[in-house]
């Protein structure tokens, strides 16, 4: 079971491509479990999380938070 990943500053650790996919799918990374070393979120993790919460994915993507 993948760990819940937060970096030292409270944000999840994620590779940029995973961030991008999450952005596109409107997923919050905090809701994604990372399977990489140190609980890092990979692209597959975002995909898996998206499939698990399929309805959410139907929602329009939220605006990027500055």
């Amino acid at each position: 079971q993948a760990a819940k990943a937060t970096g030292p500053y409270g944000r999840p650790l994620a590779v940029p491509a995973a961030r991008k996919l999450a952005r596109e799918l409107g997923l919050e990374l905090t809701a994604v479990a990372g399977s990489g070393p140190h609980g890092r979120i990979r692209v597959e993790d975002v995909r898996r999380a998206a499939e698990a919460s399929a309805p959410a994915a139907a929602e329009p993507p939220s605006a990027p938070a500055p």
Partner: protein, 326 residues
């Protein structure tokens, strides 16, 4: 403390270095009677005599090679090259020797020398007087590169450079020489080489900069602050050895980085900073690592348009906006 410009702070550092260590010698073109074209050595020949503060012939390779020999004899030469763009004739000495001496002799000899040179643009100097060659020096094994951004730091870093057991290139932004005054402690003090300095804390993005670009980034940060965006400004100060930990810590915190430098963009030292972030902090990045730098051209000698070459706060803020919108 005294209220000093950067060039005055440097002058004071040189004076105290000469005073506190008999091994320190100061030389270069016009550093003696004239006190340097920017007056960095003003009054020093008068005070310490021609044996310790002197003019050399006009030959930069000769000056740096001469400094190497002087350092080998146990002195601590502080050479001035009149403008950083005139370090080029000395690059052979620097690349072939200054950076290799300790390595080649397996530690038998070290070269505790300092080469100071004014660098950078912004003040309508003639051609080649506005170059920023720190990237060339930073890619030279065995030499340290230090670039202060204000009077107080300049003094402490220069005194540290003189005390350092290895060769240090100390570049001074011409733009900052007289444009700011700040409180500088009167007695000698040092700031350690190899440490970056958080100029301003913030969480939205990190601006990574040094020398003449620090005030540009501070200005950008002030403007952003007024709009409610808190930018962190990190002054690298020592490019070699780079304080990678400080860079990474800040970028991991903010997740966004803009590297700002005034040298030509391609191959500049900012590329190294960006590469280190991409190498070691990728999973914290919320956005690309952007660079705001000089364009891929010589620094233009054309005074009415030269200010379009150097990064300014507006360009930095545009980059920040790109990051925040990403």
């Amino acid at each position: 403390t005294q209220n000093l410009t950067m060039v005055q702070a440097i002058n004071q550092a040189l004076e105290q270095a000469l005073e506190n260590d008999e091994r320190v010698l100061l030389f270069g073109e016009d550093v003696g009677k004239m006190g340097g074209v920017f007056r960095a050595s003003d009054g020093l020949q008068g005070r310490f005599g021609e044996a310790r503060v002197f003019d050399t012939p006009l030959a930069e390779s000769g000056i740096v090679g001469f400094a190497v020999g002087i350092a080998l004899a146990g002195f601590r030469p502080v050479a001035e090259v009149q403008f950083a763009g005139f370090l080029y004739p000395a690059l052979d000495q620097i690349l072939s020797h200054v950076g290799r001496y300790r390595h080649r002799t397996r530690g038998r000899y070290s070269l505790p020398l300092v080469v100071r040179a004014p660098y950078g643009g912004g003040v309508h100097t003639p051609e080649q007087h506005a170059d920023s060659p720190e990237g060339l020096l930073a890619h030279t094994p065995g030499v340290k590169v230090v670039i202060p951004s204000n009077p107080e730091r300049a003094k402490g870093l220069l005194l540290a450079a003189v005390a350092d057991p290895d060769p240090v290139f100390f570049l001074e932004a011409i733009k900052l020489y007289r444009s700011v005054r700040a409180a500088v402690p009167t007695s000698p003090y040092t700031h350690p080489l190899g440490k970056a300095r958080v100029v301003r804390e913030g969480g939205a993005a990190t601006l990574l900069c040094y020398g003449g670009m620090v005030e540009v980034c501070e200005k950008a940060a002030e403007v952003a602050q007024a709009e409610g965006v808190a930018l962190e400004v990190l002054d690298l100060e020592t490019l070699v050895p780079l304080d990678t930990e400080a860079v990474l810590a800040s970028v991991r915190k903010t997740g966004r980085a803009v590297v700002v430098y005034e040298a030509m963009r391609t191959g500049g030292f900012g590329a190294e900073v960006a590469a280190r972030i991409a190498e070691e902090a990728i999973d914290s990045l919320q956005a690309p690592v952007l660079r705001v730098a000089g364009w891929d051209s010589p620094y233009p000698p054309f005074s009415s348009i030269e200010h379009h070459y150097r990064p300014n706060a507006k360009r930095v803020l545009e980059a920040v906006e790109t990051l925040l919108r990403f």
